[in-house]
């Protein structure tokens, strides 16, 4: 679609909209509802070396304008993702961003090395920010030095560009972003979920079997906007923004904050047709802003405002 194409490291996107990891499985369910080729890209469910069953249920709990999840990175493991899910996805004309997770550095390196060989995997998303696994994940995502080293190791083996997914559960997000930039990251994706908890009013106990979980949905959008606003001014990596995106207006706000593309997570559960809807609505909004191309508005919130004479 005119004005929506975006070029990012490894990714040539027809439009800047993609489902976020863990909110779209491996695409099968949604392929019955619409043609996946219309998406800018697909971020597939986190993949680990071995299959994982994940946490006991209840795994989700609703919150005001959001939800908590503690799925626990359930996935069929590298082998099956590589040999079954990715070849199945290859029937669609859409680049895949593979979400890579693990509990040790070796895990990440192994998944990254193998999965980046798949022809339709155009980029990796290093999940150093999952709040729902006991070991690994979150430590990699909260200590800058650890994140930097992991990024370096993964960059050494990956055949495609590496985006690092930042956790909002840190005191200084800019330090984290700079650390992974130093480590050689090609881009950033942000944000993952915020740690939260809900209690059952009858029993007094946490609703989630895992007790705490990750908060997502519209409730977290202001947090993500603020973080992207800060990070995009301090690092030169492109940012794929996410957190509570439900509408085309939300997408514009993310671009203003400093994002170059946007992922949609929880909204897919509320309306499984949300991605196509946003893609259809975007051109008009971009047009109304008086620019020819959506990438012109990236960072408008902090860039010196230039009178829009772009249409000369």
């Amino acid at each position: 679609m005119k004005g929506l194409q975006v070029e990012l490291p490894g990714l040539s996107l027809k439009n800047p909209i993609m489902p976020a990891s863990g909110c779209f499985g491996f695409g099968r369910e949604f392929s019955d509802l619409y043609d996946l080729s219309m998406l800018g890209a697909i971020m597939i469910k986190a993949t680990t070396v071995e299959p994982r069953f994940g946490n006991p249920t209840p795994r989700v709990a609703e919150t005001s304008a959001g939800m908590l999840n503690a799925i626990g990175l359930q996935n069929p493991g590298l082998e099956k993702v590589y040999h079954v899910e990715l070849p199945w996805l290859a029937q669609f004309d859409v680049p895949i961003i593979a979400n890579v997770a693990g509990s040790t550095e070796e895990d990440y390196v192994q998944v990254a090395r193998e999965i980046s060989k798949a022809p339709n995997v155009h980029a990796l998303e290093l999940n150093i920010s999952c709040p729902n696994v006991k070991t690994g994940g979150i430590a990699f995502g909260t200590i800058p030095e650890v994140a930097k080293n992991l990024t370096k190791k993964v960059k050494e083996v990956s055949e495609v560009p590496v985006y690092v997914k930042l956790s909002p559960n840190v005191t200084n997000i800019v330090d984290m972003a700079k650390a992974v930039e130093d480590g050689g990251a090609d881009g950033l994706t942000m944000i993952n979920t915020l740690l939260g908890m809900r209690l059952d009013l009858k029993t007094g106990q946490p609703i989630l079997a895992n007790k705490s979980g990750g908060l997502s949905g519209p409730a977290i959008k202001p947090v993500a906007i603020r973080m992207i606003y800060e990070v995009s001014q301090q690092v030169s990596l492109p940012i794929i923004g996410m957190g509570g995106v439900q509408t085309a207006e939300d997408v514009i706000e993310y671009f203003f904050a400093g994002a170059s593309a946007v992922a949609v997570g929880t909204a897919n559960f509320v309306d499984p047709f949300v991605c196509p809807s946003i893609i259809n609505e975007l051109p008009e909004l971009v047009d109304r802003l008086g620019v020819d191309h959506i990438s012109e508005i990236t960072g408008r919130s902090w860039k010196t405002f230039e009178k829009s004479n772009h249409r000369a």
Binding site: G54, V60, E62, N69, I71, P76
Partner: protein
């Protein structure tokens, strides 16, 4: 095929204490082909409550392009739903999941339908389809107390119907399993929906020598199989990696298929 549609409310009635019968009109009934499937309803237009609510389909009327759900006003979502008036529209996603296999029982045989509380509704459409096929149906329906008993008459029109209440204020006092034992009921197949302890008791007592089909409940995110919120272990691999999703592989499973 799964459809998302704004369906219009044609009627909404409180048929027992906090139990509502809601009938909706739209194209959706045309895609409903299995009793025991459910719909995922968005009860507010705004962001709160955010998620849809899974509710079983209790009756399908293709001629009138209508379907009915029966739900208990419980938390926020169902309370908002109960305040909606005829003429208003509700955003419905469905039909979802796999329902009760009607083909597992033959004409002339007997099916025992066992329901507990808000697990009773999907058994109504099932019973209608079984009767239409020439299957004899027996219903054993369990409730907490007299005030929340519903559809006793409707079920009685389709077949012999036993009611049990925990406090004995309606029907016999006790659980549905007590009724099945005391009445010495004979049947070829069991279909059930209700609280997990009830399903577990039926599985333990009857699945070794009967076909038993159970409808499960789990908290859901997407309702279509994408988020892994509603996953349970399979019975043959209780601690391993194999799993079923209640929303898309279920909600109805053959007894012994998944770990209850």
């Amino acid at each position: 095929m799964i459809v998302k549609e704004l369906c219009q409310i044609t009627s909404q009635k409180e048929i027992a204490h906090d139990i509502f019968e809601l009938t909706l009109k739209g194209e959706l009934p045309n895609s409903m082909n299995e009793p025991g499937q459910f719909v995922h309803m968005k009860v507010s237009n705004g962001l709160d409550p955010l998620l849809r609510r899974p509710i079983s389909i209790a009756n399908i009327d293709k001629k009138a392009s209508e379907f009915t759900v029966i739900y208990r006003k419980d938390g926020r979502g169902t309370t908002i739903l109960s305040e909606k008036q005829p003429g208003e529209k509700v955003d419905v996603l469905g039909p979802l999941g796999h329902g009760f296999p009607v083909e597992e029982v033959n004409k002339g045989e007997t099916a025992l339908l066992v329901g507990g509380g808000i697990g009773v509704p999907p058994l109504y459409q099932l019973s209608k389809e079984l009767v239409q096929k020439g299957v004899r149906v027996i219903h054993v329906l369990g409730f907490q107390t007299k005030d929340v008993v519903f559809y006793e008459e409707a079920f009685s029109k389709l077949g012999k119907t036993y009611i049990a209440t925990v406090d004995g204020t309606a029907g016999t006092k006790g659980f549905v399993t007590d009724v099945i034992n005391n009445e010495e009921l004979n049947f070829d197949i069991i279909y059930s929906c209700g609280p997990t302890p009830m399903l577990r008791a039926l599985e333990n007592n009857y699945s070794s020598n009967h076909k038993v089909y159970l409808s499960l409940e789990e908290r859901m995110g997407c309702g279509i199989g994408a988020c892994f919120a509603c996953v349970c272990h399979t019975a043959d691999d209780p601690t391993g990696f194999s799993y079923k999703k209640v929303c898309s592989d279920g909600p109805v499973f053959k007894a012994g298929e998944v770990l209850l």
